[in-house]
Symmetry: C2
Subunit: 470 residues, 2 copies
C-alpha cells in the first residue's frame, strides 16, 4: 500500500507525469512474458537518473514498499511480476547509449537500452556484443544483466555475465555504488559486479553498465543438419565439441517445433525429419570454411540424413531469425505456452532429450523441444491451456520430472531464464539447503527489509523432490 | 591460542602426523612472498579431504580460531600471512587432478594441484587452460582461485575467474556446498562461484574446483618490439587493440627491468633501449601470420626502433620464460623487492607509465616497470631495503601516489595480486565507503565470528587519500 502522503513524495522525485497508479496503467505492469502469473503493482514510476532511483529506493526502504525493477518484461520466470505489489520501476527515460570507447573496446549504457539497438550501434563501428537472447529485439540490457541472459551465440562467446565490466547500482539502503571499471583485470575486493549480474533485481537496482566488446568476426556461415533420429542429433552435439570445435551457435529443434516454426516463418524448413541442428561458425574465412567442413563430416558420421549450408547471407539470416521466433511460433498453438530451460552438461544432451520424450509420454502432454544444444541448454515447451486444470497438473508434474532428471544428470533447473517465482520451489534441488542458506544470508545482508523484488529466487516452500525412474 | 584440549581435537581429525606446532614448523608458514610481513601461526594442519576441512572449520568456528588457507604462498599481498595467528591449512594431501572430461572440456581438481602440473596434464590431451600466473611453476590452483590470478595470456583469454565452472567449498559454519556445475549456463540463484573466486580465503575454504578448458591453439608466434621512447611503447599497446587485434600476450618491460632480466636469464635481450614489448599471438597459422604482420606494421608506425620475430619455438619460449622470471631477477638487486600491480584502462597505459617515472623521480626511488600492458596491468617494482626506514617511507609514499594516480585514470589498486593486508588501507579509494560497506555486509553474513583469514581485504583504517599533482 502506498499512502497519499508517500505518493506525493514519489511525485516530488519524478514529477506527476512519471508516476502512474490508475488501474489501467497498473494492469499493464501486472504481468510479464511468463504465463499464469499476474499481480497488480500499487504504482509505476519512471526515474530519469541514478539520483531519482536512489531517492525512490530510500523512500521504499523507509516505508517497506516492494520494488520491482523492470525492463521490457520479456522474462520467462515471472521475475518481473509484482507478486507482492509495490512499485514497478521502469527505465524508458534511462535508455541512452552513453559511450562507445573504441580504444578500450567498451560500451557504457543506461539500463533501458534495447539489446538489439546496442548490438546495432556497436556493429556500425565494427565491434561485437555477443550476448543475443531470443528476445533481443524487445529486451533491455538492464533486464539482460538482472537475468544474466544467454542467447544463441553463448556456446562460443559466453553469456551476459562475461561481458559486464562495471556497474553503477543503487543498494536497498539508497547507497549508489560503482563496481569494476574499464579494466581487463580488477581484484579489488569481492566481485560485486558478477554477484549483481543474474541477481534478478533482488539485491540492487542497476542504473548504468559498462560492457566489454570484441572485434567483429570477419565472416560467418550457417548450416542445417537433418536427422531421422533425435538421439543421433543430440550425439552430434557432444561429438562436435569432443572434436575440439567450438561453433558460435549449435541449436537443436525437434520435429514438432520445426513444423510450428515453418508454419510461422515459411522459409522452407524441413518438417519431415525428426530433428535438425542449426550450426553457425564465425571467424576468418579460412577458419569458417575449415570448421564447417569438419562439422559436416561429423554430422554425416553421426547419421545426419543430409547437411545443407546456407548459400547466401539472407538465407542464413532467415534460418537464425526462424529459430529466434520459436517461442512466438509455438505460442500460436494453444492459449498457454510454457517454455522451460533445464540445462545439462553437453555430454548428457542425448540422455536429456530421450528423458523429455519419455516424460511427455508418461504424462500424456505434448512437449516441443528446441534450444541451445551446444550449451546443454534445452527449451522443452508445452503448448497447453491454463484453464484446463487437469492438464495443467500433468504439465506441472512433467516439468518437475524434467528438472529432477536434469539435476540427476549433473545439470541445473535454469540455464538462462532465471529462478524468479516460477522456479523458486525447485532451487533447493540444485543448491541443497546449505546453498540456499548461503544465498539468503547475502540477500538479508543487503536487503534486511526485503524490499528488492520480494518473493523472487527464494521460495516460501520447497517442492518435495520427485523420484525419477531411470 | 590453541589449547591442548583443542589441539587433541584437531589431531583426532587429521592424525598427529598432519598437525604441526613446533616453532620451526610454524616459522615456515609465518610469511609468504610479500616482503615485510611476518606473523607466527599457532599451528599448521594438513587435511586429506572435504570432511576433514569441514571438521576443522567447525572447530575453529566454535573456538574462534583464525583460519588461513594457503597454497604455495606465492602471493604478493600478504594474503597468506597469518597476521592474527591461528591455524594455517595446507593442501599437500589434497593435490590430485580428479578428472579430465574430454566431452565437456573440463578438468576437476583438488586445491593443492600445482598450476603448471594442471597445464601440462591438459595439454597432453590437446586441451588448454589459459590462466598462467608468473608463479605457475610453484603456485596452486586453490591459491589461484582465492586470488583470481591473472597471467601473461589474460589479454586474450581472461583470468582464473573466467575458467571456474564449479566449486566445492566449506563455509565458516562448516556447511559443505557445491556451486555451479559442468555447465555452460547456470542461473540458479546468485553466482556464488564467482563471489568465492578472488575472495582471498575470507569467505570459505575451497576443497574442489571444476575448471573450463578450451581447445589448444594450433600454433603461436612471439615478437619483440624495441623502443627508444617509453611512451611510444605504451601508445603501441592502445593502438594494437584499437586496430581490433587481441594478441594472447602483450607485455611491457622498461630498460631497468630489461637489464636485470638479461643479467639473470642471459638470452641476449636488448638492454640499450628504453623499453620493449613482448607480443605473442596464437591460433591457426594463417591468423597468427596475418596478425603478426599487422602488429609489426603498427609497432613501426608508433616508432619502434626494430621488430624481431622469434625464429624458433625455443627462442620464443626463452623470451616468455625470461619475462616470467622478472620478479626473481629483480629480487637479486636489493634485500627487499616490492612489486605492485596498479591497473588502468589500456587507453591510459602511456599516462600511467609517465606518471610512474615522475613519481619515482619525485621520491628519489628506483622503480623498474614491467607488466601485462595489454591488460593495463603494470608491475612497478622497487628494489629497496626494509632496514632503511627513511627510504621505505619514500617508497611507501611513491606507491600511494601510484595507486591514487591509477584510480584517477579510471583504474584500480590491484589487477591480479589481491588486496590482502598490503593493499587493504587503499581499498576504499577504489570502492568508496558504500562499496566497502556492501562487501563487509557479505563478509559478516558468511563469517560472523571473523575466523576466515581475518585482517585481510578489510583494513582497520583507511589511508588518507594523497593529492596527486597532474
Amino acid at each position: 500500500m502506498i499512502t497519499n502522503q508517500v505518493k506525493q513524495k514519489f511525485i516530488e522525485i519524478v514529477g506527476s507525469e512519471n508516476y502512474f497508479d490508475s488501474k489501467t496503467e497498473r494492469l499493464v505492469y501486472s504481468y510479464d512474458a511468463t504465463p499464469n502469473f499476474q499481480s497488480m503493482p500499487d504504482a509505476v514510476i519512471v526515474p530519469s537518473n541514478k539520483d531519482d532511483v536512489a531517492s525512490i529506493v530510500k523512500l521504499c526502504n523507509a516505508y517497506h514498499i516492494p520494488i520491482v525493477p523492470r525492463g521490457s518484461g520479456t522474462n520467462l520466470c515471472a521475475g518481473t511480476c509484482p507478486t507482492e505489489g509495490g512499485l514497478v520501476i521502469i527505465f524508458t527515460r534511462m535508455n541512452q547509449i552513453l559511450e562507445i570507447d573504441e580504444e578500450n573496446l567498451t560500451v557504457t549504457v543506461q539500463p533501458g537500452v534495447i539489446t538489439q539497438d546496442l548490438i546495432n550501434a556497436v556493429e556500425q563501428r565494427g565491434l561485437f556484443y555477443p550476448p543475443d537472447p531470443s528476445s533481443m529485439k524487445i529486451s533491455t540490457i538492464g533486464g539482460n544483466i538482472n537475468e544474466n541472459s544467454g542467447g544463441l551465440r553463448g556456446l562460443k562467446y559466453g553469456v551476459t555475465r562475461d561481458y559486464v565490466l562495471a556497474l553503477e547500482a543503487v543498494l536497498p539502503n539508497g547507497d549508489i555504488i560503482q563496481t569494476g571499471g574499464k579494466l581487463a583485470k580488477d581484484v579489488a575486493g569481492y566481485d560485486l559486479t558478477r554477484l549483481f549480474v543474474g541477481s534478478e533485481g533482488t539485491l540492487c537496482v542497476i542504473t548504468e553498465a559498462t560492457l566489454k566488446l570484441i572485434p567483429m568476426p570477419e565472416t560467418k556461415k550457417t548450416m542445417l543438419a537433418l536427422y531421422e533420429d533425435l538421439e543421433a542429433a543430440a550425439r552430434t552435439v557432444s561429438s562436435i565439441i569432443a572434436n575440439r570445435i567450438i561453433p558460435t551457435t549449435l541449436e537443436f529443434l525437434d520435429q514438432p517445433t520445426l513444423e510450428v516454426v515453418e508454419d510461422f516463418a515459411k522459409i522452407g524448413l524441413p518438417t519431415d525429419v525428426k530433428a535438425v541442428l542449426l550450426i553457425e561458425q564465425d571467424g576468418t574465412a579460412d577458419i569458417v570454411e575449415h570448421d564447417m567442413e569438419k562439422i559436416r563430416t561429423i554430422c554425416l558420421k553421426e547419421q545426419a540424413k543430409s547437411v545443407q549450408i546456407a548459400k547466401t547471407t539472407e538465407e542464413a539470416a532467415a534460418l537464425t531469425a526462424a529459430r529466434r521466433a520459436a517461442l512466438s511460433a509455438l505460442a500460436r498453438l494453444k492459449p498457454t505456452t510454457i517454455l522451460e530451460d533445464a540445462t545439462v552438461p553437453r555430454s548428457e544432451i542425448a540422455k536429456m532429450v530421450k528423458a523429455i520424450n519419455e516424460i511427455a509420454e508418461k504424462y500424456n502432454v505434448k512437449i516441443c523441444t528446441f534450444g541451445h544444444a551446444g550449451d546443454g541448454n534445452l527449451h522443452p515447451t508445452v503448448p497447453t491451456d491454463a484453464r484446463n486444470e487437469e492438464e495443467m497438473e500433468r504439465v506441472e508434474k512433467a516439468f518437475e520430472e524434467i528438472f529432477a532428471r536434469a539435476i540427476e544428470l549433473g545439470g541445473t533447473i535454469t540455464g538462462e531464464h532465471g529462478v524468479g517465482v516460477m522456479k523458486a520451489p525447485y532451487l533447493e534441488w540444485k543448491l541443497g539447503s546449505a546453498g540456499i542458506s548461503a544465498m539468503k544470508a547475502i540477500k538479508e545482508a543487503f536487503d534486511p527489509n526485503n524490499i528488492m523484488n520480494p518473493g523472487k529466487v527464494f521460495a516460501k516452500e520447497t517442492r518435495k523432490r520427485v523420484v525419477v525412474s531411470k
